[in-house]
């Protein structure tokens, strides 16, 4: 009897004796898998939708990534791995991309996934009648005629996407876009089943009607309570999927969620604000911290109707220099965040953080320089500047604002009035430039520096500072088609540091409590695009 057969017999005998082994071992790592492969996690709030072209929130997108599969997925590090697409080819100037689709991919009702399903989905996204909040994504992708179709000036058939045959998808772009394939991991580009949508209308996403092509099917949804998804037998890679069932529970209160996590009801939950240091002591194996593609900053009103003193660059620089970011991250927040001197986080793919001058100084040097600039601008402790800082109502924002106002007061003698506003009121105030200094946060839409730096373009709808600098605009426009845009990004960051329309404060960190039996959480995927099909639970 040869050894491997013997081993197999032995292990199967063992499997009969011990239920823990019945589920088998992980095919790659060889770890013993747990019997119950149910992954349960907490979400803060009810998701907006599970329709790929409609969903607009993070927790909804997480569900959609389990239910549907686009051309490409991301691996644990955020690299592209084939999804429905097997590979792609592109022409020399990178304006035409041809994707070869996987012939074995099927929808949950057995229908093959075809190029036509992608054409339908992308046209649906661009169609004004769909009224998708992510309609603008067709322009981010640079699809030919995207803008005209979105505006309703052209029929959807004119959009730059067509099916050559069932398994060949051809995409035509307005201009060269070297990173186009990366944009296809976004949920709004996932295929949609035309027949189901036509049959059930807006009810097609209900568990009894939905047709999906991802690793999981939607089996139960109770609004504001739970959503359950279970293995899709039709999924092409079902044999390599380990987690059988995924349950997301809506728990608004993060402290209650932590209690339930400790009681073993959850496999993953967020660490409540302020509890990171103590949990790191008590449960070091479960605390998981990782950088995220998000920046926390203060935006300064530099629009035409801004007060005169804010138009003085010396005042803006002084305000920025006087903030001790290390105190904010290490003493105030204590959640693994990192101090920010540039807008774009270091975690961004292909981005090298430029050493903008003030980031290289010590805090004492920054404070000295700030005092100097402030007095040059005509303000000191005997003639103090009065500033109003607004933030949206939240304990965390309040803590940061209090710390910053103390730093400004102590170093520069600035009198700060703190004002908190309810979320939508706040957005309105900030969006209409009825403020002096306002809190802001931004998370990247995709893993490339332009998702941040585009915010300081004069035409950007997100540029609440109303910063306008022709040179910045030009550098960013040129960066779009460059193979290596880093030099332009460096220059833009340096110009932000010089003009200081925004004050970067810190880069976010994600922090979770993850049970030790849940494996393969993609901590290195800075966009946190995770797929339940890549997770597994080991027997303990």
């Amino acid at each position: 009897m040869n050894v491997s057969i013997k081993a197999a017999l032995l292990s199967s005998a063992f499997a009969l004796a011990s239920p823990a082994l019945a589920a088998g071992t992980h095919p790659v790592t060889g770890e013993t898998l747990a019997d119950d492969q149910t992954f349960t996690y907490r979400v803060l709030d009810e998701h907006t939708s599970v329709d790929p072209q409609i969903v607009e929130d993070v927790s909804g997108s997480e569900i959609v990534r389990d239910l549907f599969e686009g051309l490409y997925n991301q691996d644990e590090k955020g690299n592209l791995v084939p999804g429905v697409a097997l590979s792609y080819e592109t022409n020399d100037d990178k304006t035409v991309y041809t994707f070869a689709l996987r012939p074995e991919a099927k929808w949950s009702d057995g229908t093959p996934v075809t190029a036509g399903d992608f054409v339908f989905a992308w046209q649906r996204l661009a169609d004004p009648a769909t009224a998708s909040e992510y309609q603008w994504y067709v322009e981010i992708m640079g699809l030919k005629n995207g803008a005209a179709v979105s505006a309703g000036d052209m029929p959807v058939e004119e959009l730059g996407v067509k099916a050559i045959d069932d398994h060949t998808l051809e995409v035509t772009l307005e201009q060269s876009l070297p990173y186009f394939a990366k944009t296809t991991t976004h949920t709004s580009t996932f295929p949609a089943p035309k027949w189901a949508i036509e049959k059930h209308g807006s009810d097609w996403i209900k568990p009894e009607n939905i047709v999906v092509n991802g690793a999981y099917k939607l089996t139960e949804h109770v609004a504001n309570e739970r959503l359950v998804r279970e293995r899709n037998e039709m999924y092409w890679d079902n044999d390599n999927t380990i987690i059988d069932k995924v349950v997301s529970l809506v728990i608004n209160d993060e402290n209650v969620a932590l209690t339930r996590y400790k009681a073993g009801e959850l496999d993953r939950t967020e660490i409540p604000a302020g509890q990171y240091p103590s949990l790191k002591e008590t449960n070091p194996d479960e605390v998981t911290v990782f950088p995220r593609l998000c920046s926390y900053y203060y935006t300064i009103n530099v629009s035409d109707n801004a007060p005169e003193f804010l138009k003085d660059v010396r005042v803006r620089q002084a305000l920025s220099y006087a903030i001790n970011r290390d105190i904010i991250t290490e003493k105030v927040l204590q959640g693994g965040q990192t101090a920010a001197y540039t807008f774009t986080p270091a975690a961004t793919a292909g981005f090298e953080v430029p050493a903008v001058d003030y980031s290289t100084w010590s805090q004492d040097e920054r404070n000295a320089k700030a005092t100097e600039l402030m007095s040059a601008a005509g303000y000191d402790k005997s003639n103090p500047l009065d500033i109003t800082l607004i933030y949206n109502t939240s304990e965390a924002h309040k803590k940061v604002a209090l710390a910053v106002s103390q730093m400004w007061k102590q170093n520069l003698g600035v009198n700060v009035t703190l004002e908190n506003q309810e979320w939508k009121t706040f957005l309105n105030t900030r969006g209409e430039q009825n403020y002096e200094v306002a809190r802001a946060g931004w998370c990247g839409d995709y893993n490339e520096a332009s998702t941040f730096l585009d915010l300081v373009q004069s035409g950007s709808g997100y540029n609440d500072a109303k910063y306008a600098n022709e040179e910045v605009d030009k550098l960013l426009a040129d960066a779009k088609t460059m193979d290596d845009p880093q030099p332009n990004y460096t220059k833009v960051e340096e110009m932000i540091a010089a003009d200081m329309p925004i004050i970067p404060i810190y880069h976010y960190a994600g922090n979770y409590m993850i049970q030790t039996d849940l494996k393969n959480w993609p901590v290195e995927n800075v966009e946190q695009n995770w797929y339940s099909k890549n997770l597994y639970k080991v027997a303990e």
């Binding site: 939708s49 329709d51 009224a131 309609q135 504001n224 209160d253 009801e265 309105n428």
Partner: protein
């Protein structure tokens, strides 16, 4: 009596209409809209969405269409935030949940509170009385947003007896903690109200007369004292019931039960106009209805009150 009911219904309709218009107007004047977000939508995208939901129409037209939709098709409109669902879906799913734990809490609050209050009054200044007063004061000062997480800590984490939240179709294990958290302070109020009004009644002349006649205690309490001492309690029950059925924001957000309380409060933050209007109408009609029921009960108990 019939006349009274007809009159009350006739008043209820204009009240509802005023409520509807007032809340519609208040909502529209609040800054921001349903699609205001951290990432402002490009104007073109916003225009598509507003066209889809009819938000590009003049305000009066929107209100008119909304009212007509309700009257002709019983359609309370779409949710702008939870796009997979209409307001009807949200009510159909959330309201039974809220109603279930609301009614159970209500019944428990009345039964436990009533018995506690009555026994305390009958045996005034006994150990039982001190106990009842102590417990009710304690229960009243402990708000449910404090009690709920403590319950979860005790019953889920330490004892492991009950699931820490969720609904699961309303199985009893999932009901225990929400019901305790919701009913306790009402129970305490009812107990205190019952106790003080019972004490007052027991000291009144007609009870003294009954005792002088030599009636047994049981007859005095059940036949003569109970009804009049319930009057102040009943006037409290209307608002209490509505409070339990609507005041479930805390319960929903801490226990993740999926009731309408959470949707209601959040719809205001989200400027989810139709959800807010739909729930306002629902809860408004319930408030009106229960106040009416209380008035009828009142008249039944105390014939002195003319309807």
């Amino acid at each position: 009596m019939l006349n009274f009911i007809i009159r009350r219904v006739a008043v209820a309709i204009p009240t509802l209409i005023i409520l509807l218009i007032a809340s519609f107007w208040l909502m529209q004047t609040a800054p921001g809209g349903p699609f205001t977000s951290e990432r402002p939508l490009p104007p073109q995208v916003l225009a598509n969405i507003e066209a889809k939901y009819g938000l590009d129409q003049p305000i009066l037209k929107q209100l008119w269409d909304y009212v007509i939709g309700i009257i002709t098709q019983f359609d309370f409109g779409p949710s702008y935030k939870y796009k997979d669902r209409s307001v009807n879906d949200i009510i159909a799913q959330g309201f039974p949940v809220t109603l279930t734990y609301g009614i159970i809490s209500f019944v428990i609050a009345i039964v436990v509170g009533g018995i506690l209050g009555m026994s305390a009054a009958i045996r005034q200044n006994s150990m039982l009385d001190y106990f009842a007063v102590g417990v009710t004061i304690g229960a009243q000062v402990l708000p449910n947003f404090v009690m709920a997480p403590i319950l979860i800590l005790i019953f889920t984490l330490w004892l492991g007896w009950l699931p820490g939240g969720g609904w699961n179709g309303g199985q009893w294990q999932y009901l225990v903690m929400p019901v305790i958290a919701l009913s306790t302070s009402y129970m305490a109020s009812i107990a205190r109200l019952t106790r003080s009004s019972m004490l007052e009644v027991l000291r009144s002349n007609f009870i003294r007369t009954a005792r002088a006649k030599g009636l047994p205690d049981r007859t005095i309490i059940w036949r003569h004292a109970l009804k009049p001492s319930l009057l102040p309690v009943i006037s409290y029950l209307g608002p209490a019931f509505v409070g339990m059925v609507t005041g479930s924001f805390i319960i929903d957000s801490i226990f993740g039960t999926g009731g309408i309380g959470y949707f209601y409060v959040n719809s205001a933050f989200n400027r989810d106009y139709a959800v807010m209007m739909g729930l306002t109408i629902l809860l408004g009609s319930m408030t009106i209805m229960f106040n009416m029921v209380v008035d009828i009960l009142y008249a039944w108990i105390d014939p002195k009150i003319r309807l």
